[in-house]
C-alpha cells in the first residue's frame, strides 16, 4: 500500500494564531488530507470530537471511516492500531488520558515497539499514540500523571512532548510520517493556555532536535512540556537577580538531542532538570546520568533535579506537588551554592 499524496498542505499558506489543541487538530487534518492511510480513532473522538476537542471537525470532514469511536478498551485501541499499521495504514490512536493507558501497555511495549526488531525488519509499526498527560488541572491521580519514563525505557518507541502550538503541529506531522511507533504526549494544562503563530499547511519539526527556548550563560535548565513555560518564567525572574539562565526544551525525549543538551551544559557548567513526573527514575535521572558520564568535568556544581515528589499524584495538594517557578528558582540557586 502506498500513500496517495496530493498537494502537501492542500495549498494552505501563511500562519494563524492557535492554541496547542487547535494546532494538534490542524496537524491531523493536514495529514489526513495528504495521506489516505491516516485514520484517527479512540474513545469519543468521532462526533464529539474528543473529550478535549482534539479531533473536532475531523469526523465531519473525513467521515466515520477515517475518524471513529471505539469500544471502551485501551488494549483494543492500541492492539487494533498495531494490526492496522502492520497491514499498511498510518493509525493515530487517542488514549483519552495517559493515566488510562496501562491496559494497553502489553500492546505498546511487547508488540508495537518490538515488531520491526523481532521480525528482522519484515513488519513495521508506524503509528502514533496521542495522549494527554500532566497535572495542574485538578484532576487527581487518575487524570494528572506523567508516565513518560515507562515509554522512554522501551527500545523501539519514540517519545515526543511539545511545549508550544507551532511545535505541537510540526512534531505531530513528523510523528505521523515517522516509520516507527511514536508516543505523542500532550500536556493538557497547556492545551488552551497561551496561543502562538502556527504555519498553515505543511509544517514539520523534525524529531530528535531540541529547541533553545531562552538563551543564557550561567545555568542550563533542561525541560519539556508544560514545565518549559514555568522554567521560562523562572529564568526571567532570575535574570532580574543577575542570573543568566538558558532554557532547553527537549521536544523529543527519544531520541534525545544530546548534542544540544551537552553543548548547553558545557557552556554554562550548571544544570537544573525540571519535570513534573515523580523524581525517582524519571527522565531527569537519565539526563543527570548522561551529563555525569559525558561532561562532568565541565560542571561547576551538582546537577539538580526539580521534579514531582515520589508520591501518587495528589488532588487537594497538587500545587505543592507540581514544580513551580519558586521551586525552579530554588533549584537554580542550588547550582550556585552547595
Amino acid at each position: 500500500m502506498t500513500a496517495t499524496k496530493t498537494k502537501p498542505g492542500a495549498g494552505e499558506t501563511g500562519t494563524k494564531v492557535m492554541t496547542m489543541i487547535e494546532a494538534i487538530t490542524d496537524a491531523m487534518r493536514t495529514e489526513m488530507r495528504n495521506d489516505d492511510r491516516v485514520v484517527v480513532f479512540g474513545e469519543d473522538v468521532g462526533k464529539k470530537g474528543g473529550v478535549f476537542g482534539a479531533t473536532m471537525g475531523l469526523f465531519d470532514e473525513f467521515g466515520e471511516k477515517r475518524c471513529f469511536d471505539t469500544p471502551l478498551s485501551e488494549c483494543g485501541i492500541i492492539g487494533a492500531a498495531v494490526g492496522m499499521a502492520v497491514y499498511g495504514m498510518r493509525p493515530i490512536a487517542e488514549i483519552q488520558f495517559l493515566d488510562f493507558i496501562y491496559p494497553a501497555f502489553d500492546q505498546i511495549v511487547s508488540e508495537a515497539a518490538k515488531m520491526r526488531y523481532r521480525s528482522g525488519g519484515e513488519y513495521t509499526c508506524p503509528m502514533v499514540i496521542r495522549s494527554p498527560y500532566g497535572g495542574g488541572i485538578r484532576g487527581g491521580h487518575y487524570h494528572s500523571q506523567s508516565s513518560e519514563a515507562y515509554f522512554c525505557h522501551t527500545p523501539g518507541l519514540k517519545v515526543v512532548i511539545p511545549s508550544t502550538p507551532a511545535d505541537a503541529k510540526g512534531l505531530l506531522l513528523a510523528s505521523i510520517r515517522d516509520e516507527d511507533p511514536v508516543m505523542f504526549l500532550e500536556n493538557k494544562r497547556i492545551y488552551r493556555h497561551g496561543k502562538g503563530e502556527v504555519p498553515l499547511g505543511e509544517h514539520v519539526v523534525p524529531l530528535g532536535k531540541a529547541r533553545i527556548a531562552r538563551e543564557g550563560e550561567d545555568v542550563t535548565i533542561l525541560s519539556y512540556g508544560a514545565m518549559v513555560s514555568v522554567c521560562e518564567q523562572a529564568a526571567a525572574t532570575a535574570a532580574q537577580a543577575g542570573r543568566s539562565v538558558e532554557v532547553v526544551d527537549l521536544r523529543t525525549l527519544v531520541p534525545l538531542d544530546e548534542a544540544t543538551v551537552l553543548a548547553s551544559v558545557k557552556k554554562t557548567g550548571r544544570v537544573v532538570v525540571v519535570y513534573e513526573a515523580p523524581k525517582t527514575c524519571g527522565y531527569g535521572a537519565e539526563l543527570s546520568a548522561l551529563i555525569a558520564e559525558k561532561c562532568i568535568e565541565w560542571l561547576e556544581g551538582p546537577v539538580v533535579r526539580v521534579a514531582g515528589f515520589d508520591t501518587p499524584f495528589p488532588y487537594t495538594l497538587e500545587h505543592l506537588y507540581m514544580p513551580d517557578e519558586k521551586r525552579v528558582l530554588a533549584g537554580i540557586e542550588k547550582t550556585f551554592t552547595w
Binding site: 483494543g76 494490526g83 492496522m84 516509520e179 516507527d180
Partner: protein, 370 residues
C-alpha cells in the same frame, strides 16, 4: 451450534455421507504430505534441542490437522496472525524448509535475524505476521488489520490463532469484541488442546465450550473436531467465505490435544495422566486422514515411505546447511530497533565494536583489564 462437535471423519477415517468436501485427489495427498512433513519437522526440532544444537523447541504434534485444515481454507493473499503452534502453515505457504530451520538456529539465514527464540517465525512472503510470546496479543491485531481492510475496501481475510489458555487473555475479549463491532473479516481459531503448559482447560473457563463464548460477542461460534482435517477445513471455509462477503468474524474452536509437552523445557509426565495421552493417540489426526486416503485408494505403503523419506531428506539437508551458517554479525544487534539508528544506538554500536576489537567482549576468552 456452539456446543455440537462438527465431525466428518469417523474414527476409522470414513467420511460421513453428504459432508465430505470432496477435495481433488492431488490436494488430499498434498495435505497429507504437509501433515507428515510438519510432524517430521517437530521430531527433528525436539531432537536438535535435546542434542544441545538449538536452544529451544516447541512441538505442534497432534495439532497438524487443526492448523493445516484451517489455513487451507484461505487464499494465499489472506493474512495470518499466528500463535506459536502452527508451523505447518509455513509449509502450506511454501516457505522453504531451509528458512524455517535457519530460524531455529537464529543464524544469518534467519529472516528475523536471530532476534527471537526458535519457532517465533515471521515470513512476510507468506503473509505470516511475526509471532510473539505474550498470549493473545495477535487476536486484537488481527481485528485491527481486518478493520483496516474494510476501510480500504480490500477483500483480504485474516486468520488468527490462540489456544485454550489464550481465551483467558485480555486480548481474547478485546479482539473478538472489536472484530464483531466493526464486522472485521477475521476468523478466530481457538485450538483447544486441553492444556496451557500444566493447567487444564477446565481451569481456564467455566463455559461449556470455548465456541459458546462467541454468542456474547454477536458472532457465530463453531466447535469442530480438531483432529479431523476435513471438518476443520469445512468449518473454516464457511467462516472465511462469510468474512469475505463482509458478514463479519467467526470463532472456531478446534477440539484437539497437545500430544507433546508444552515445549522442550516442560515435562508433561509430571502433571498429565498417561491414559489421557493413550486415548488421544488413538485419535491421531494423521492416522485418521491416512485411513481416509486409503479408503479412496490415495495412500499405500510406497506413498507413505516416499512422503516420510522426502521430508526427512529435506529437513536433514536444511539442518546441515543451517548449522554451517554463521551467526548474524555483531553490528546487526542494533539494526531494526528503528528504521534508522539513533545517535545513541550508533554510539552504543561503536562502544561494542571497540570492546570486541580489544577482545574483551564476545571473544571466547576475555582479557582483563580491557
Amino acid at each position: 451450534m456452539s456446543l455440537e462437535l462438527l465431525t466428518i471423519l469417523d474414527k476409522d477415517g470414513k467420511a460421513q455421507k453428504g459432508k465430505d468436501p470432496n477435495l481433488p485427489a492431488a490436494e488430499l495427498q498434498k495435505l497429507y504430505r504437509l501433515m507428515v512433513t510438519t510432524r517430521a519437522l517437530d521430531d527433528r526440532g525436539l531432537a536438535l534441542q535435546r542434542q544441545g544444537r538449538i536452544g529451544f523447541y516447541l512441538q505442534s504434534t497432534g495439532q497438524e490437522a487443526s492448523h493445516l485444515g484451517a489455513a487451507y481454507a484461505l487464499k494465499d493473499s489472506d493474512w495470518l496472525f499466528p500463535a506459536y503452534r502452527q508451523p505447518g502453515i509455513l509449509l502450506l505457504r511454501q516457505v522453504p524448509i531451509d528458512k524455517i530451520i535457519c530460524e531455529w538456529f537464529g543464524n544469518s539465514g534467519d529472516t528475523s535475524k536471530g532476534r527471537q527464540m526458535p519457532v517465533h517465525y515471521s515470513f512476510r512472503q507468506a503473509n505470516f505476521v511475526s509471532i510473539s510470546s505474550p498470549i493473545g496479543t495477535q487476536l486484537t491485531q488481527a481485528a485491527g488489520a481486518g478493520m483496516a481492510a474494510r476501510i480500504r475496501g480490500d477483500d483480504t481475510v485474516f486468520m488468527t490463532f490462540c489456544g485454550d489458555g489464550g481465551t483467558s487473555s485480555n486480548d481474547f475479549h478485546t479482539g473478538l469484541n472489536f472484530a464483531a463491532v466493526y464486522k472485521a473479516p477475521v476468523v478466530f481459531i481457538c485450538e483447544n488442546n486441553g492444556w496451557a503448559i500444566s493447567v487444564p482447560s477446565n481451569k481456564q473457563t467455566c463455559s461449556e465450550s470455548m465456541a459458546i463464548k462467541a454468542d456474547a460477542y454477536g458472532m457465530p461460534g463453531i466447535r469442530v473436531d480438531g483432529n479431523d482435517l476435513l471438518a476443520v477445513y469445512r468449518a473454516c471455509k464457511e467462516a472465511v467465505d462469510r468474512a469475505r462477503r463482509g458478514e463479519g468474524p467467526t470463532l472456531i474452536e478446534t477440539v484437539t490435544y497437545r500430544m507433546a509437552s508444552h515445549s522442550s523445557s516442560d515435562d508433561a509426565a509430571r502433571y498429565r495422566d498417561a491414559k489421557e495421552y493413550e486415548a488421544w493417540k488413538k485419535k491421531d489426526p494423521i492416522a485418521r486422514f491416512q485411513q481416509y486416503l486409503k479408503g479412496k485408494k490415495l495412500w499405500n505403503e510406497a506413498f507413505e515411505k516416499e512422503c516420510v523419506e522426502a521430508a526427512k531428506a529435506a529437513i536433514g539437508a536444511a539442518v546441515t546447511a543451517a548449522e554451517a551458517m554463521a551467526n548474524p554479525g555483531p553490528e546487526t544487534l542494533f539494526d531494526d530497533v528503528y528504521m534508522n539508528l539513533t545517535p545513541q544506538l550508533k554510539e552504543q554500536r561503536q562502544e561494542l565494536h571497540d570492546l570486541m576489537a580489544k577482545g574483551g567482549v564476545g571473544a571466547e576468552v576475555g582479557h582483563f583489564p580491557l
